[in-house]
């Protein structure tokens, strides 16, 4: 519960429910009876953070221990931050209302690069020095996990530890170690050196980075017994892994106001732009029985009337049909809607589709990602125009009138023809509607084209590719809009400056730490919010630190260049990514894991689809 001194301000801020705590199923413990207090921080607003599944899992997992208490912390919105700073209210955890600077562990989940300044801001609001080296005491230890820590280098000066890969097992091991170190009175340095010996723990301060004259990395050297390569943690068996049976149920409406149950991790597809697909290899599935049990438990304890079955590509789930057949009668009876994001509808049984829509009809989305077959082959997105059109045909016959299509621009080898292809494909969907005799009568069709820009990411085949500059992206966006000849097609686009900054930090190195700190001191925060992103301040910050941001985005990297993240190991080998890059430029596709093992290297990690394939080979 919030500290007493904030009470009188709660009615003067937007959405006070963000700051009160006290939600159903939030965990309250006696602080004197636990050894480790863990502040789990999401560096964005309450509504976004409370929608994040990883936080719910780790929250319940840590709280399942008697010796530890995990609490939630979110970035206060600008109005609340002002009040907190003016009245010297330090950043507090929602469950106890206690200042997090007194906690043992402060954990951040890093889902997008544009939340970096919020991390600094939250540490500062907590009353802690932002730099790791300036926090001399053993506690609090500041750790980070999540997608972005595959390249934690831009944040290396701020985090004490990062945890590449699945967080469940390693978080528990880290808590054990910290508990022991607190008891022994060991130093922070002693703890960090011991932590570096745990598999899947990266301690940035134990690595020395040297640069060449041309600013590329010359060498990365491990010191004090830290491993040369840090291999990510990989949970082998999701059925046996802890999954929460209770979620904190917020008073406020959150971004995804529903329960989420994970059905598998990883992806068999190998789309060449997709970082999540490569970082989470190999694919590991939960059994349908376990998924169903978890769905029933969570709905019962939360009262939510919508379940989202979450994964990177739902239709690749082998147990999907039996699962739905078992779950649908229960869901219908209890008026529970089952949402299947990332579903490919082309080969999905019609009867199940109809049953899924008996409770509430959700929208239809499709992600061809590129406008021509040639470019879809380059990015290894194995969807054909006929797949899109036949799905649309079925959807229109079933009464749908709105379709959403996701595309990317700025892809390698892209030409004008590829961009025009996006408009053509959208037009083909419109035509499909009017050629369909079974379409809903008297209604118009609406095709929404959502246009993102490629940000080449570490650990993808495109990690060596140059990223289009913002002005080029704007030109491409405008060209696409000029190609659209009907009002039935509506194009929405992103601000390319957001993608630009994301690009700088995702493939950045340690020298960017100073830039992040400068920008934060100038007042940059909530950079992922269009209304907050201050382009001028960021460009000033690059200049003041003598850094050319386009060095990180606009340059083609050589295959033999040492990349800032080369000492982190996600299973997939650099050689494989290099081959995939070459195949992309040749327009050659790669089969999915279940069809044929492509030899990516992830099979040396433990389990998942690789075992399944090995079995069939043997």
């Amino acid at each position: 519960m919030y500290p007493k001194e904030t009470e009188k301000f709660l009615l003067s801020v937007q959405k006070p429910g963000r700051y009160t705590g006290g939600e159903l199923n939030s965990v309250i413990k006696d602080k004197n009876s636990v050894d480790i207090r863990y502040a789990f921080c999401f560096p964005d607003t309450y509504e976004i953070g409370m929608s994040h599944l990883g936080m719910k899992i780790l929250y319940s997992l840590v709280n399942s221990r008697e010796d530890a208490w995990c609490e939630r912390v979110f970035a206060p919105w600008i109005d609340m931050e002002e009040i907190m700073r003016k009245n010297s209210i330090p950043l507090y955890a929602l469950e106890s209302g206690d200042p997090i600077r007194d906690f043992d562990l402060i954990g951040f989940t890093m889902q997008y690069e544009l939340s970096y300044t919020n991390v600094l801001n939250m540490l500062d609001l907590a009353g802690l020095p932002v730099r790791s080296a300036d926090r001399k005491e053993l506690t609090p230890i500041v750790v980070a996990g999540g997608t972005c820590v595959c390249n934690a280098e831009p944040m290396a000066d701020f985090f004490d530890i990062t945890l590449p890969g699945d967080g469940e097992e390693v978080t528990m091991e880290l808590i054990d170690l910290l508990k022991e170190c607190k008891k022994n009175g060991s130093s922070k340095r002693g703890f960090l050196e011991a932590a570096a010996k745990i598999k899947g723990v990266y301690v940035p301060s134990l690595y020395e980075v040297e640069y060449n004259e041309d600013n590329t990395v010359k060498s990365i050297t491990a010191t004090c017994g830290a491993p040369e390569k840090v291999e990510k943690r990989n949970v082998a068996d999701l059925d046996k892994m802890f999954a929460p049976s209770e979620f904190v149920v917020p008073f406020l409406e959150t971004v995804f106001d529903r329960t989420t149950v994970e059905i598998f991790r990883g992806c068999i597809r190998g789309c060449r732009f997709c970082q999540a697909g490569f970082l989470n290899r190999p694919l590991r599935e939960k059994s349908p029985e376990v998924v169903e049990k978890q769905c029933r438990e969570i709905c019962g304890s939360s009262g939510y009337d919508e379940i989202s079955l979450c994964s990177l590509s739902t239709s690749d789930y082998k147990g999907l049909e039996p699962l739905l057949k078992n779950m649908l009668p229960w869901a219908n009876e209890n008026k529970i809607n089952i949402a299947l994001p990332s579903l490919r509808v082309d080969n999905f049984p019609k009867e199940l589709m109809e049953q899924l829509n008996t409770v509430r009809r959700s929208g239809l989305t499709f992600a061809p990602e590129a406008g021509t077959q040639r470019l879809r082959d380059v990015i290894n997105k194995n969807i054909t125009e006929e797949d899109v059109l036949s799905t649309a045909r079925r959807a229109f016959s079933g009464g749908w009138t709105a379709v959403k299509l996701y595309f990317m621009i700025g892809l390698p080898t892209e030409t004008e023809e590829d961009i025009k292809g996006i408009a053509d494909l959208a037009q083909a969907v419109v035509d499909e509607y009017y050629n369909n005799e079974n379409r809903p009568k008297g209604k118009s069709v609406s095709v929404s084209v959502s246009l993102a820009s490629l940000v080449p990411k570490p650990f993808t085949p495109f990690q060596w590719e140059p990223q289009d500059k913002p002005d080029v992206l704007i030109e491409k966006q405008n060209y696409l809009i000029s190609c659209v000849k009907t009002r039935k097609v509506n194009v929405s686009r992103h601000v390319p400056w957001t993608s630009f900054l994301e690009g700088v930090f995702s493939r950045g190195d340690r020298r960017l730490g100073a830039v992040i700190e400068t920008a934060w001191r100038k007042g940059c925060h909530f950079d992922s919010w269009d209304e907050c992103l201050d382009r001028e301040k960021w460009m000033e910050s690059f200049e003041e630190n003598g850094i050319d941001p386009f060095f990180y985005t606009a340059r083609r990297r050589e295959f033999n260049e040492i990349l800032p993240w080369d000492h982190i190991d996600y299973g997939v080998t650099k050689k494989f990514l290099e081959n995939e890059n070459k195949k992309a430029h040749e327009g050659v596709t790669t089969a999915c894991c279940r069809e044929k093992c492509a030899g990516c290297g992830a099979n040396r990690l433990n389990g998942g689809v690789c075992n399944e394939i090995n079995k069939t080979v043997v």
């Binding site: 009188k8 009160t20 159903l24 149920v249 008073f251 409406e253 009262g303 209890n334 008026k335």
Partner: protein, 221 residues
């Protein structure tokens, strides 16, 4: 199908929950309590649930009505109350469940207790006596926002009774204010108009709606 009027208390942390969020919160609670809700039979079935007089953000309510409809399967009102109370979050409590006696549009007034804390006993004394004089004088103009825009209204015309008692640094106001669909006075507007009129500043204000009343000031059931 049976209609039930739930009477709930909203206090503590729950006062920071807006009306829209209350709707979500109760829908989920009813589901957790496994109360056999009646669903509308339209294209998009949804449970029938109506808050008769939404409470403004930040105010406490001692006995607020919420109408629901359930499939009649013999569940008693007492059982509904107990089941709901075992699943509601802190700050929300069902104090009673009854058959709706009055129609929602019979709500005409509401009884409030407003506590204002001041920096000194003197300030409290001055506010208690001067606020009563203002109200007895019959004129307290304030800008009131409505769907048709902002206009200046005399709040005294919407106050059925008013008394202020000083106790230490606090002033406790007991008031009956017009409430309902046609004429409605938010207690927050009244207290702030009094602060402005008397150039007073309170350290803290707590507004509690005690109960809803009908035109004849008998309790709304």
């Amino acid at each position: 199908m049976r209609s039930i009027r739930l009477w709930y208390k909203k206090s503590g942390l729950a006062i920071y929950t807006s009306h829209l969020d209350m709707n979500r919160c109760f829908t989920r609670a009813v589901r957790r309590a496994e109360i056999p809700l009646w669903y509308t039979e339209g294209f998009n079935p949804h449970p029938y649930m109506t808050f008769l007089m939404p409470l403004p953000l930040g105010q406490t309510g001692m006995r607020e009505p919420l109408d629901i409809r359930i499939e009649d399967d013999g569940i008693t009102n007492k059982e509904i109350r107990e089941r709901m109370n075992s699943v509601l979050p802190d700050g929300l409590e069902i104090v009673d469940a009854s058959k709706p006696e009055n129609k929602p549009n019979e709500i005409a007034a509401a009884e409030y207790e407003i506590t204002a804390a001041f920096a000194s006993v003197d300030e409290a004394k001055r506010f208690a006596s001067e606020s009563e004089s203002v109200m007895n004088g019959g004129i307290l103009n304030a800008e009131k926002r409505s769907k048709r825009g902002i206009k200046t209204v005399n709040l005294c015309e919407m106050v059925r009774s008013f008394s202020a008692a000083q106790s230490g640094e606090k002033v406790i106001i007991s008031a009956v204010l017009a409430s309902g669909n046609t004429v409605n006075l938010n207690a927050d507007l009244l207290i702030n108009a009094l602060f402005a009129e008397l150039s007073a500043t309170a350290e803290a204000v707590e507004i509690v709606r005690i109960k809803l009343l009908k035109e004849d000031l008998k309790i709304f059931e």
